[in-house]
Amino acid sequence: MDIRNYFSPVGAKKKSGASSLPKKDAKKKNVIIDSDEDDPPPQVVKRQRIEDSDSDDDIFEITSKKKSDKKNEEKNKNKSKKLKSLPKSESPKLKPAAAAEFFGSNPVSRKEKKSSSHTKEEVIEVIDDGDDDFSKTLAQLDEEETHKPKKPISDSKASHNEEKPKPNENSPPNKIKPEEKHSNLSQSSKLSARFRAFECRKREHEEASIPKSTKEDPKLLHRDKKIKLASTEKIVESKDESVTKKDSHKEEKARDKEREKKKSDEVRGITPKKEKKESPWKVKDEAKKTTENKITPKKEIKESSKKKPKNTPGKKLSSDIEIEVKKESPKKVDDGSNGHTEQESTPQDEKKNNAREAYMKFLRRSGPANPGSKVIPEGKPGCLQGLVFVLSGVYDSLDREEAAELIKEYGGRVTTSISRNTSYLVLGSEPGQSKLTKAEQLGTKQLDEDGLLDLIRTLPGKESKPDNKMDQSKASCKLKAFAREKKPAVVVEESVTPDDTQLVKPSSAVSTPSPKKSKAFSQVSVSSQGSPASTSSASSSPRTQSLSSQEIATRAGDVLMWVDKYKPASVKNIIGQQGDRSNVRKLLTWLKNWQLNQFGDKKPTRPSPWAKGDNGAFFKAALLSGPPGVGKTTSAHLVCKELGFDVVELNASDARSKRTLENVVSELLTNKVLTGYATSQGEDKTSARHALLMDEVDGMSGNEDRGGVQELIGLIKKAKIPIIAMCNDRNHPKIRSLANHCFDLRFQKPRIEQIRGPMMSICFREGIKIKPEALDQVILGANQDIRQILHHLTVWSAAEKNLQADDMKKEAERAKKNIKKGPWDVCRTVFTLSEHKDMNIHQKADLFFHDYSIGPLFVQENYPKVMPREAGGKRVATLELLAKTAGSLADGDLVEKLIRSHNAWSLLPTQAIFSSVVPGTHMSGHLSAQIEFPRWLGNNSRRNKFDRLMQELHMHMRLNISGSKLDVGMDYSGPVRDSVTRPLVKNGMEGVKEAVEGMTTYDLLREDLDALLELAQWPGVKDPMMNVESKVKAAFTRTFNKDSHMSPFAVPTIAKKKKVKVGEEAYGEEEEEEEEEDDDIATSGMIKQKKGAAAKKDVQSGKEKGGASSSKGKGGGVPKGRGGKGKK
């Protein structure tokens, strides 16, 4: 016997009961349901709501489990005993509580209400037969419920007590004790709401398919009439002022309350099957969905043509039963893993002590033991929908990331820490202790890897419904997911601002045929835009907004680009700019107070560049900077619009030279906008408030815009209107000068989560079916560029309306290719295992090509900082890997030499392998330190400097020494330095003469001494000059400069001038210089002179000073007889 048989007729009958009711009525009912949820008695409701938002997943899960139990009973009653034994052992206290209530009480009330539900009774009987076993099984399942503080434990106990004594009773537990009723009020009222929603939906289906069918339940009719009365009343009132509306609302609330109390019993009468069959949320969402369908008639027609509503309940049921069947296996796995983990768990204090060790273990943690050893099952799409997983430990075949991806693919969620919401803790080897203990506290079920795979293999998908139902179910599924996502926001919106929703009611009533529809729709629209980051609808009037945008969608859909179509209509809708401290908010305040700040009494002072929370009062202009597609221009426009500024925009398409700017701005100041005349009746509405928008200021370049930035700066200085400039590259040299005069607002890329919501809503409106995971891929692929995302979506959706995660990943991958990475990122990716493990060799080699001149240097600089996973923390292994890597880098160097010296650029890929891929493979792990800029560059230039110094020294000393340049550095630098510094250190002032002599012996200049000191300086060795008193040093310098030094080489001109300046006091100095030059001319090359040469100075002093160039002339010729003159 299949439950299905019970069900479909029931549903049909129910529907038939409702079918005779006017459409309006049903709708109205929905309204009430909504209000039930929204505005029941404050305290109770609050609790409910929290529950809703918190644990919706749980509820779903629980119910589904209950289903499975029920299935056990009905189908395998014998087997259920086996099952029973398990729960008994695990949970000595039986708490079938809430579930039992759902089961027991509902049918009765239903019976009361509906005379038609004979079949249902049968069902109930069956269930009650197995109540004993069943309740026990339930207890096991509800065990986790009992852990949750928000579940009314007392309730469950009460109900438990009630249930226990008469488990085998044929009659359902329809009589509910008053106190229980009371305590269960909140629960039941909620349930009632859901149930009714479900019922409603069914009825509507019925309406659609079988307009006129069977008998009505008088009672029901009566009730519905009552509701109808209430809602019509409401409608009437809603057309009045909002104040009265509120009142009516309150009245209604009160009524609802009463009704709820009354009906709580009735509601309990819902057949257990029904409760189980549909998760509360599903019910609600389905309801939403159907109503939604009605609002957009086109859609509805489309869908209704596809679906066969008659079959709906039954089919759904069947699928749900499938769930039950398949739920079994994971549960069993759970039990096993439970025991297993309990053994492993260690005491808490010990854990604390070993925290560090555990962390180290985590760092060293190896990958999966047998990657790819298990076949990853092909699950039904969305089969993990609504389940929350926490991953811990290392799995046998799957990687952590792989597992997470797998779960996400099937609609599950993966969180990092265990909470009440967590459905499963998936354990591998070496699980995290804290997770384990927490899981035990919360009673979270624990799975191992196989369990997870089984789960995927066995769970039915949410979309695995018959084909004819395909579309609708998919849509509903999506909506559901959507609603779930947005749930908290919705609650807040609805509960916090009832005024808002009421305010807009009239308009909606006008625009839509029935209030119920509109209400439901508003719910949908709110939920879809519930996230603050919605693109299209103004939050002040969500409904009208969304409607109008809907209209646009249908009317102008083919004309407008999505980017324009879904352009934010108000400041509040700009993605990622909702916060109080957001840039848009800052800009808004700045612009608002601009007049005040600039022309007020108190002149604001310039803020320090590091001041936080600056409101920019000082600045006359604002500079918005950030990557493309984050909404800079949009923000600026919207802010201006919001504050009623007229915008004059100059962008890169305009010539923005000095003159143009002058013209434009002068015009701007005198102009007025005429639209005011047109729109307002007679009043002078022209605004004199202007703002100048300078878009794309970093594009100001070339001849046309010459002086543009400077002019803009000038303009800003004397501006009488606010100027908003925008640019991409904040650090561009041109912009930097501009930035000094601007209120600097930097736009960051919005986070994925911020973008996802609005994008989902757009997709929904465009009829694109895309999974959140797929969308995430798109967002990532576009590098969080919202404009880009929209364009991508447009293009892809043109081909295929149903976008899959895999395809998206590919597409996103393609889009990603264009993103250029900086060397730091490249280096991180090269070494970090998690970042490059999915890459193939080509992609790894591509990393090298992001910047092949500096990339290898980064790799070389940072490779010893990586903790390679392969080594597993062993020191020898690490060192061996290190050696291999270093060898490979050296290979890369050889290749590079070949490339550079032979222009063999075709070898670049080879270098990529040696310099990037191989090191990345050997050292893949994680970077334990910050990535540093390659020091090779700095050291290389320092080396070049030293080389130059040495060469110079060598040149100066060449006449006296025989060694080469290197010998100067290695052998001579020390002794020569010492020969100069030693007398200074030892004898102080007396040593000066000796030191100078030391210098002159080797024809050194004062600069050479510094070079020598630097060259001979080694870390850890004291600089001998440090010991010299500064007085002595000065004396040394003075003496050295005073003396004439006949250098055998041409002193560089700069040095010579300096020398002249310093030694001006000595008259002879000048002459010596001249003489020296004379000598040059005469001998066409300098002849080395010793001290004796000074005697001849006077004789030659009369001669003209010659050009220094002669000393540099080619001296290969035959020298003349004067060579002997300067001989030593």
Binding site: P864, R875, V876, L879, E880, L882, A883, T885, A886, G887, A890, D893, L894, E896, K897, R900, R935, N939, R943, F946, D947, M955, R958, L959, N960, I961, S962, G963, S964, K965, L966, D967, G969, M970, D971, Y972, G974, P975, S979, R982, G998, W1018, G1020, V1021, P1048, F1049, T1083, G1085, M1086, K1088, S1111, K1112, K1114, G1115, G1116, G1117, V1118, G1123, G1124, K1127
Partner: protein, 355 residues
């Protein structure tokens, strides 16, 4: 007051202290009136330059010691201005083309060609050829060496080239075959000790022979270094004692410390530290080969027989690659890393054997 090393440098072939036979050969060569191109090679501090100067003096007389420093300007084909410094007397020209690095070919093409192709006007009392001394020929690029080939043959009548190099391994065979190779080996320890004694005597000091030997050993058979060290010792402590401390150059101390740091600990962190020190050495223009040698010498002290061989092999392997590559640090680091791995493994094996 020059340093001793310059003060007591022999100026004539006859006054050389060692390789007297070779000096005799050279003298005879000059007496014949002509000699071929010479390729003088040998380790630093062996006296190559001294020998060349002695030869030139023998050839042209004392006029060759009147040296002048000249700046020569060139322009590369890519319009880059170059300046090179030459040391010239009336009879010869000494130039180090590798000073301009990459553009040394231009130097060879322009300077040497112009110099070599000019005829002597007045050959009376002079030789009919001049000499161009090229130093650090082993640092010349292959291009420059090829450019030299034809010049050497074409201007044989007017010019002799004396090439000076540390090793012929980097001189292309074509040039080697055109030259008379003249190897100047490093003086033996005894010779150095003897010379040190001699120098000290000239300075009026008395040097204990033991200290002289120790300095000679420490100098690594580099006479220049030996004399400089000797002078440093004198400054540090005089009168000499036979067991006084010998002051080694700072860079050598630094290099030794680096090597012992490698031996001390083997870890990635230490590798980074050592890299810093190697960078320091390299920036001070200590040749990478010297670094390799210094490291190896220290490391080998701590190794057993088999490991010793392996370490030496590694050093040789990496040094070879160093010459093929461009960035010295890569190869030195590769050597150090592989040594670390080897040594650590060796240590752990020994430890496990012990316990």
């Amino acid at each position: 007051m020059s340093l001793w090393v310059d003060k007591h440098r022999p100026k004539e072939l006859g006054k050389l202290d060692y390789h007297l036979e070779q000096a005799g050969h050279l003298k005879k060569l000059v007496e014949c009136g002509d000699f071929p191109h010479l390729l003088v090679y040998g380790p630093p501090g062996a006296g190559k330059k001294t020998r060349i100067m002695c030869l030139l003096r023998e050839l042209y007389g004392p006029g060759v010691e009147r040296l002048r420093i000249e700046h020569q300007n060139f322009q590369t084909p890519s319009k880059k201005k170059l300046e090179i410094i030459t040391l010239a007397s009336n009879y010869h020209l000494e130039v180090n083309p590798s000073d301009v690095g990459f553009y040394d070919r231009v130097v060879v093409q322009e300077l040497i060609k112009t110099c070599a192709s000019t005829q002597q006007l007045d050959t009376t009392g002079q030789r009919h050829f001049k000499v161009v001394v090229l130093t650090e020929v082993d640092k010349l690029t292959k291009d420059a060496q090829h450019a030299l080939r034809r010049t050497m043959e074409k201007y044989m009548a007017t010019c002799r080239l004396v090439l000076c190099a540390n090793s012929t391994s980097k001189v292309i065979p074509a040039i080697r075959s055109r030259c008379l190779g003249l190897r100047v080996p490093a003086p033996t320890v005894e010779t150095i000790a003897q010379i040190l004694q001699c120098v000290c005597k000239k300075e009026g000091l008395s040097l204990p022979s033991e200290l002289a030997t120790r300095i000679a050993e420490k100098s690594n058979r580099n006479l220049r270094r030996a004399i400089l060290m000797c002078e440093a010792c004198k400054v540090h402590q005089y009168p000499f004692s036979s067991n006084q401390e010998i002051i080694t150059p700072d860079w050598e101390v630094f290099l030794q410390d680096t090597a012992s740091k490698v031996v001390e600990e083997q870890s990635p962190k230490r590798l980074l530290e050592v890299r810093e020190r190697i960078y320091e050495l390299l920036t001070h223009c200590i040749p990478p080969e010297v670094i390799f040698k210094g490291l190896l010498r220290e490391m080998v002290k701590f190794c057993d027989g088999e490991v010793k061989c392996e370490v030496t092999r590694l050093a040789a392997y990496h040094e070879h690659r160093l010459h093929l590559g461009s960035k010295a640090i890569y190869h030195i680091e590769a050597f150090i890393a592989s040594f670390m791995a080897l040594y650590k493994k060796f240590l752990e094996e020994n430890m496990s054997k012990m316990f």
